[in-house]
């Protein structure tokens, strides 16, 4: 209809430029229009007795509009547009033959539909005007002569990589446009900005034709799972599961975590109608080693695609024991039970070393026979302090630490990347004059002035964030956990610390009856590390006021300490963006290297030795990243599916700085199970960003006409007349006819 009325496809107007081809100046047209309008106005005023002012104005407007149209047409309007020259340009047609294109949505596979559209609607017209090159694509684009031979068998869809391939060929041929026939189920998470920028630079429009429904009628899909890459032995870890569903709104389903088909944790969730949702599930990371956890939703009855219900996440459980130094300024009951939380559980992950000031000039060291260096109290040198992974500062006056030690404590989190916990007490936080030290800056709460520590019993309660936090999770089940906290005994004391800083998360609050709650447990990231405040020294009542078999207090402290040190980095930290490669082979490797003072090491020799699934090994040399000092990068190709162990070692002047090991896994035949419905948003965005159009199979027949408008390839700038558009004549008739009808109605014909 558009083209019938306007003579040309809509993209001609969208991309073309309006011009007036007449040699006469535009001002003359405006002058003539003004004169004509004035004359008409004078004429109508002469006969104002016949019509009211409003009616006269309508007649005047209609006549003026008619004259304006006639004048505009006399000035010869046209659209100037770049168009591909016939038979001189190449149009690349990319046909997706990934496994998702084999899904039969209405009894017919998507690939079959694409072939039919190609044969009946595109090729006949395109071939008349352009050279058509056809490519099949999945992981990459491969040229094909006969698309009929394509089979939907590729394990992945990488639209970006495929377009990059075609764009690279654009230098050797006059590429005028690209047509992508796909369901948009890209497995790389989208099309990267570099590829889009490259296409825009070439000015090649990408037209897309989408196949498949926007969503399945009955499906539950695990869109993503965020789980930590590393964990400590036997620690509780939290996975955030993003779920999308269609047709199951309000239904109860089971969220489950399995390892080797053995269920580790499960919880029942209610699916939200018409909305994506995120749920948290917690489970035990298990013994040291690499663990592959299958995390997802148990398939519901009648689901159309059950292969997108779970994903695999790899968690590397470190074998090393993390060392936490606890400096306490006075004997107190919490100290005893914090020690017991670690000692009584035979914690395989944490060594707790404590220094307690028993008298004014004596300290008592516990927890490590090797801690001779602590006989004189808190470590004097930063590098000695940095031998620990976590630090607890109890009820000890700020001025017990000299300036260097105060700076080292701040650097412990900032530069070393350790976890620091400050607790309240007679000499802790504000009461210990911490407010004016470098340590105040690292705290998640603003310290108020004066005495804030009160020995009153008060009720702790979880905040919304606390209900989801792994630190405060005493029960696997969320609701049971909330109920358990409500039954916890009151704490014996607390400090009224100030408000949270931006970026801080308050997990627990405390309040006496009738008082405003104040933060009890708050955490935040600080530099490379983490800092928490626990504004009490009265958690011992959680042990003494509950049955001796109750372990709430111990679990709380174990998890708080695990939070402190789980992500504390070593001197060498290796990483890769994805620990599970779904039908991918490329593994970017990255390592950061620091010395014993945790200063950046720029001139290190860094190598990663990768043990393949077949037992063989490869060595990859990592090169310094010029943009990020202390960081070394490299690339590895995982040729075969399976588990790879990558051990990165850094050396400086023949001395080993440190080493780190990660495990990653390549899985094949998985990616296409996800996002199996049409990703229309991605296809539309791709077209929009490159100057192309999105089509459905039903309107794809318009593409051959519209594709000619392009600034890529060999083009000619045409001036397309628009004075003879049917819409113009229709407008003239409508205006003139309307005026006549009105005059007739008003009796002034």
């Amino acid at each position: 209809m558009f083209q019938f009325l306007f003579k040309y496809p809509s993209n001609v107007f969208a991309k073309g430029k309006f011009v007036l081809l007449s040699p006469w100046p535009v001002w003359l047209m405006i002058l003539l229009l003004a004169i004509a309008a004035g004359g008409l106005f004078w004429n109508i005023r002469q006969r104002r007795g016949l019509l009211s002012t409003a009616r006269s104005t309508v007649i005047w407007l209609a006549q003026t509009a008619l004259i304006a149209i006639v004048l505009l047409m006399l000035w010869h309007p046209a659209i100037s547009v770049a168009r591909l020259r016939p038979q001189q340009n190449v149009v690349a047609v990319l046909i997706d033959h990934s496994r998702s294109m084999g899904i039969a949505d209405d009894g017919k596979p998507r690939l079959q539909s694409a072939k039919e559209v190609l044969d009946t609607q595109l090729l006949p017209d395109l071939s008349k005007k352009f050279q058509v090159r056809m490519y099949g694509f999945g992981k990459d684009a491969v040229r094909v002569d006969q698309p009929d031979n394509l089979v939907a068998d590729d394990n992945a869809t990488r639209i970006g990589d495929s377009l990059k391939h075609i764009a690279a060929e654009a230098g050797t041929m006059p590429l005028g446009a690209i047509v992508v026939m796909s369901d948009g189920g890209d497995n790389t998470g989208g099309i990267d900005r570099d590829t889009l920028a490259q296409l825009r630079q070439l000015r090649v429009p990408v037209h897309t034709i989408g196949f498949g429904p926007d969503h399945f009628d009955k499906d539950i899909e695990v869109v993503d799972v965020a789980a930590p890459a590393r964990a400590l032995p036997q620690s509780r870890v939290s996975a955030r599961v993003a779920i999308r569903q269609h047709g199951y709104g309000g239904a109860s389903v089971k969220l489950i975590v399995r390892e080797n088909d053995r269920p580790l944790a499960e919880q029942t969730i209610v699916l939200k109608p018409d909305a994506d949702q995120s749920e948290t599930i917690m489970f035990n990371a298990g013994a040291p080693g690499s663990h592959s956890f299958q995390i997802g939703v148990v398939p519901a009855e009648g689901e159309q695609n059950t292969r997108n219900n779970s994903v695999v996440r790899v968690v590397n459980v470190a074998e090393k024991r993390m060392r936490i130094l606890y400096m306490e300024g006075e004997p107190r009951w919490d100290f005893k039970f914090i020690r017991r939380a670690i000692d009584d559980s035979d914690d395989p992950a944490i060594d707790l070393i404590t220094i307690l000031r028993t008298t004014q000039n004596k300290t008592y060291v516990q927890g490590d026979a090797k801690a001779k260096d602590l006989e004189n109290g808190f470590p004097a040198a930063a590098e000695d302090l940095f031998n620990y992974d976590g630090l607890i500062i109890g009820s000890v006056e700020a001025n017990y630490f000299n300036n260097d030690q105060q700076r080292a404590i701040a650097d412990f989190a900032d530069r070393r990347g350790g976890g620091v916990l400050f607790t309240a007490g007679r000499f802790g936080l504000s009461d210990g004059d911490y407010a004016k030290t470098p340590m105040a800056e690292m705290m998640p709460l603003r310290l108020t002035s004066g005495k804030t520590f009160i020995r009153n019993f008060a009720d702790p309660s979880l905040t919304e964030a606390g209900r989801e936090s792994v630190i405060t999770r005493l029960e696997e089940d969320r609701d049971k956990n909330i109920a358990r906290w409500k039954k916890m005994p009151q704490i014996a004391n607390y400090a009224t610390v100030g408000d949270p800083k931006p970026g801080a998360v308050v997990l627990m609050t405390v309040a006496e009856s009738g008082h405003r709650p104040s933060p009890l447990l708050a955490i935040q990231n600080y530099g490379r590390g983490r800092v928490g405040i626990l504004a009490t020294e009265g958690t011992w009542r959680w042990k003494m006021l509950q049955d001796h078999a109750d372990t709430s207090d111990y679990i709380f402290w174990q998890q708080l300490m695990r939070w402190m040190v789980t992500e504390t980095p070593g001197k060498v930290v290796s990483s890769t963006p994805k620990l599970v490669l779904s039908d991918e082979t490329s593994v970017p490797l990255r390592a950061s290297v620091r010395d014993k003072k945790y200063e950046i090491v720029s001139g290190a020799t860094v190598e990663t030795t990768i043990t393949r699934p077949d037992g063989g090994s490869d060595v990859v040399s990592l090169k310094p990243d010029p943009l990020e000092p202390g960081t070394y990068t490299g690339e590895y190709t995982a040729d075969k599916p399976g588990t790879y162990v990558a051990e990165t070692a850094a050396r400086q002047d023949k001395t080993e700085v440190g080493r780190d090991t990660i495990t990653f896994r390549r899985e094949d035949g998985v990616a296409e199970n996800f996002g199996a419905a049409q990703n229309r948003d991605l296809l539309e965005k791709l077209s929009r960003d490159t100057g192309g159009n999105y089509y459905t199979p039903a309107n794809a027949k318009k593409l051959p006409d519209e594709i000619a408008v392009s600034e890529a390839g060999i083009v000619a700038h045409d001036n397309l007349d628009i004075w003879d558009m049917p819409i113009v004549f229709l407008l003239v008739i409508l205006i003139r006819g309307g005026e006549w009808l009105l005059r007739r109605k008003w009796g002034v014909v």
């Binding site: 004997p331 008592y364 004391n493 006496e512 009856s513």
Partner: protein, 268 residues
């Protein structure tokens, strides 16, 4: 008006329940004090630790058959003099006055006081319910120091009751290397601390308790739950620390031992 009354009633209920939530306050036991002394300033200050004396029933096995019983021997002077020493010698936040934990009263009150002291336990006569409470208290992490019991008879009485609390746990002789003798002071060399009677009799021991023993019951992790000062009287040493005739070496050891036991209980 009704609304105001309702609000008042709610507030009163809240206040009452808040009061119930607190641990017991300082209370004098006039008429039961064996060695009365002035109440020090601020006796009800809320602190991290105070001397918690166990008030238990006694009498069946000895002459302590009156209303008072054996629990307040040396009380409260020993408690308050020892407290002053703990305040002066350590960084423990300490109250000026003791807290009596009445085993015959609210059975849950003891859980608010993770360190308790019982004297003359060779005469105590615990009920089954009290044994159960003490067992639970110790398993939760509580610490019991018993003192001033002497000779075979009192030991047997004490052991009999301890077997009712812990039928399955042996009583061991504490080795010199045990951390309890080294938390603050190194107490490898210890002497028998006599009661006041020594000033008149010249004997360090009482009854047939010739040899002092520092015994204990360990928990599953080898930590002392019950510390027994057998054939010695640290309570008298605290009580008579201001008595010029009572030798300083005994007082000194009693203070050091008591402080070690307290700090041990707060660190293990």
């Amino acid at each position: 008006m009704r609304f105001r009354i309702a609000i008042l009633a709610v507030l009163l209920c809240c206040g009452f329940s808040a009061l119930l939530a607190f641990q017991a306050h300082f209370k004098e036991y006039k008429g039961e004090e064996e060695n009365p002394t002035a109440v020090p300033p601020d006796p009800d200050e809320r602190t991290e630790w105070t001397f918690a004396r166990l008030r238990y029933p006694s009498g069946r096995y000895s002459g302590y058959s009156g209303e008072v019983g054996s629990w307040p021997i040396d009380f409260p002077k020993a408690d308050r003099q020892f407290l002053a020493g703990v305040r002066r010698l350590t960084r423990i936040h300490t109250r000026s006055a003791e807290q009596v934990i009445d085993l015959t009263g609210d059975p849950t009150e003891i859980y608010n006081w993770p360190w308790v002291y019982a004297v003359e336990v060779g005469h105590w006569d615990l009920t089954d319910e009290q044994c159960k409470t003490l067992r639970e208290y110790l398993l939760r992490g509580g610490f019991l120091m018993v003192d001033d019991f002497h000779g075979t008879f009192e030991w047997d009485v004490f052991v009999q009751s301890m077997h009712r609390i812990f039928p399955d746990r042996p009583i061991i002789e504490l080795p010199d290397a045990d951390p309890i003798f080294h938390t603050v002071y190194d107490l490898d060399q210890r002497v028998q601390v006599p009661g006041l009677q020594y000033l008149y009799s010249g004997r360090l021991y009482e009854k047939d308790g010739f040899i002092p023993h520092w015994r204990a019951i360990y928990d599953d992790r080898g930590r002392v739950m019950v510390a027994m000062c057998f054939n010695q009287d640290d309570g008298d040493a605290w009580e008579h620390a201001d008595n010029p005739q009572y030798e300083a070496k005994y007082t000194s050891q009693a203070y050091r031992l008591g402080i070690n036991y307290i700090v041990y209980s707060m660190t293990h």
